[in-house]
């Protein structure tokens, strides 16, 4: 199977600091890959390169064989890469359903249709809100909370809302930056199940996460980064066990919390 997302020898320096030193890995459709590593390993820089927020110094990112070089985040998003953010980036003035509607409704009708309240607007608006509600249902967002704004929602629901907003774009690749950070452990299995279901529908999912037990529930493969390089990748049996990780000073013995260098 041809890989959906290919990252080939990507490099990025900030001043004298090499944030990424020739990073390569790939992601197939329907696969969940966990990207791990201590703080400062370059995970977020890598995600920013993949999503078009940061231009790499060298190397290339390909989606479906097509190079994303020189494309900005909006272009990359339209080609089918959706992401969530480490620190939630929700639209705080909009209700939950409107947050998702922003993603669903791009280009549904023209500005003039909206101003003149033409039929295209009425039909388009009903369709947008209907689809947004469906996406919210799909991530298990309670219907009675749809018309609340993010600041009114508990943290777990805000995380689900951000996931729903990314899914609403029908992406080919979904990049989740710490999907369970700040969530209760009881909520992990539900989120893991959700991510596996998304992958089962043919989406390639890249999960950036510190929590070993969680990534092992959700991912088939792991890519482990440290100091801007991939130090190990493969199936769980092939790469470092948590014990070895601890032995190399890369994480804590119970596998919880951020591995700290």
């Amino acid at each position: 199977m041809a890989d959906l997302l290919e990252v080939v020898e990507v490099r990025k320096s900030y001043g004298g600091v090499q944030a990424l030193k020739s990073v390569s890995f790939s992601l197939a459709a329907g696969e969940v890959v966990a990207l791990m590593g201590p703080n400062g390993a370059g995970k977020t820089t890598l995600v920013n390169v993949i999503c078009g927020h940061t231009r790499p110094d060298g190397g290339v990112v390909r989606l479906d064989g097509r190079s994303l070089a020189g494309m900005g985040p909006a272009r990359v998003a339209r080609l089918g890469i959706a992401r969530t953010f480490q620190n939630l980036c929700l639209f705080d003035h909009l209700t939950a359903v409107e947050n998702v509607a922003v993603a669903v409704g791009l280009g549904a009708y023209r500005v003039s249709d909206a101003i003149l309240r033409r039929w295209a607007f009425r039909a388009g608006e009903a369709d947008i809100l209907g689809r947004a509600e469906k996406v919210l249902d799909a991530v298990g967002f309670p219907p009675e909370a749809r018309d609340l704004t993010p600041p009114m929602l508990p943290y777990g629901l805000r995380k689900r809302l951000e996931l729903a907003r990314a899914l609403a774009r029908n992406p080919k690749v979904l990049v989740l930056d710490e999907p369970v950070a700040g969530m209760n452990r009881e909520e992990w299995p539900a989120i893991a199940g959700l991510i596996r279901a998304v992958a089962a529908s043919g989406v390639g999912v890249l999960v950036i996460e510190h929590h070993w037990p969680f990534v092992q529930q959700v991912g088939q493969r792991g890519v482990f980064m440290a100091h801007g390089s991939v130090i190990a990748q493969g199936c769980w049996s092939e790469i470092l066990s948590p014990r070895e990780v601890v032995g190399r000073g890369l994480g804590r013995a119970d596998g919880v919390g951020a591995p700290v260098l």
Binding site: H53, E125, G156
Partner: protein, 332 residues
């Protein structure tokens, strides 16, 4: 549909009532307030909804006023053509100023747009000749009285024209905000990063809003010229830019009635105070109103009420009680 009927009835009442009740001076004053409402609505779209601090308001207001004056003086345009031409000139001016200005944000945007106002003001003061006519320099220009069928428009008809134009601006802005495009504007204000990562390129959205807002302000400037009969470079006064932002903020930015409340407040209240013999209190009342809105309803009264309602709802449906309503309302 019931709501629409109600709005039409209120609209007709708002048009007719002042004609019966107000004398000519008060009618002039409310006409002026509606002119400023249009400009404040344009400003609010930019400053309130998308959080882009532009001080170029006076430039577009002045462009609109001069367009209608020159159009009827040199090209013998009718007042209606003049207003449309002002919208077009305002939009073009918005494009010209927006291209360099929108590359920066916040304070830098404020300063670079202010530069646009100062440049235009200086240029018009220098009395250049333009299309074979004069721009009048610091003396300014006379705007020919608007006519219909050769007869000059009475102040009542002028009121009707301004009222119709303001109603159109209100409807356009309301329809725009209550649509996908309104959601995009809020999204741009809340998290440009997230909006971009959902596939919306930011530059065209910012430019579109800037151009649209410029056109609205220029239309207001055109009506200002028609209403006052004479214009001079003081319509490009940077103070006006700040006053327009004040109108948008006092009424509560990001709320469709906000600019109307703000414009009435800024235009009518000082006159009321002056009539009552408390002239100096007008400025103090500004300051107090500013403070109160910024402290209690920075996003406008409409949003403030909707937030209060949200808190009540969130508390009732018990979504993990610990986190619900954790954020203080209003100023916090």
């Amino acid at each position: 549909m019931k709501g629409r009927l109600g709005r039409v009835l209120v609209g007709i009442l708002g048009l007719v009532l002042p004609l019966g009740v107000f004398n000519r001076y008060v009618l002039y004053l409310v006409s002026l307030a509606l002119v400023y409402y249009m400009a404040a609505a344009g400003t609010d779209l930019l400053v309130g909804y998308t959080d882009q601090l532009s001080l170029a308001g006076a430039a577009f207001f002045g462009l609109g006023a001069y367009t209608v004056a020159l159009g009827s003086g040199l090209l013998h345009q009718s007042w209606a053509e003049g207003v449309l031409a002002a919208a077009a000139v305002g939009a073009m001016g918005g494009m010209v100023l927006g291209l360099p200005a929108l590359r920066v944000q916040h304070l830098s945007l404020g300063v670079s747009t202010l530069a646009g106002v100062v440049v235009l003001n200086t240029w018009f003061n220098a009395s250049p000749s333009f299309l074979g006519g004069s721009l009048g320099g610091s003396q300014g220009l006379v705007v020919p009285a608007p006519t219909i069928g050769g007869h000059p428009l009475s102040s009542r008809w002028l009121w009707a024209g301004i009222y119709g134009s303001a109603a159109a601006v209100w409807a356009v802005e309301r329809n725009l905000i209550r649509s996908q495009y309104g959601r995009i504007l809020w999204a741009l204000k809340d998290s440009p990063l997230a909006l971009e990562s959902l596939g919306t390129a930011l530059a065209p959205v910012k430019m579109g809003v800037f151009v649209f807002s410029s056109a609205l302000i220029a239309v207001a400037g055109a009506w200002y010229g028609l209403l006052s009969g004479t214009i001079d470079p003081t319509v490009f006064d940077p103070n006006l830019s700040i006053t327009l932002i004040a109108m948008a903020v006092i009424g509560g930015s990001g709320w469709e009635m906000g600019p109307l409340v703000g414009a009435l407040f800024v235009t009518v209240l000082p006159q009321v105070f002056a009539l009552m013999g408390f002239g100096p209190w007008a400025n103090l009342s500004y300051a107090i109103a500013f403070f109160l809105t910024l402290r209690w309803a920075p996003e406008g009264l409409g949003r403030r009420w909707s937030r209060a309602w949200q808190t009540w709802r969130a508390a009732r449906i018990r979504l993990g009680r610990r986190d619900v309503g954790g954020r203080p309302l209003g100023g916090g």
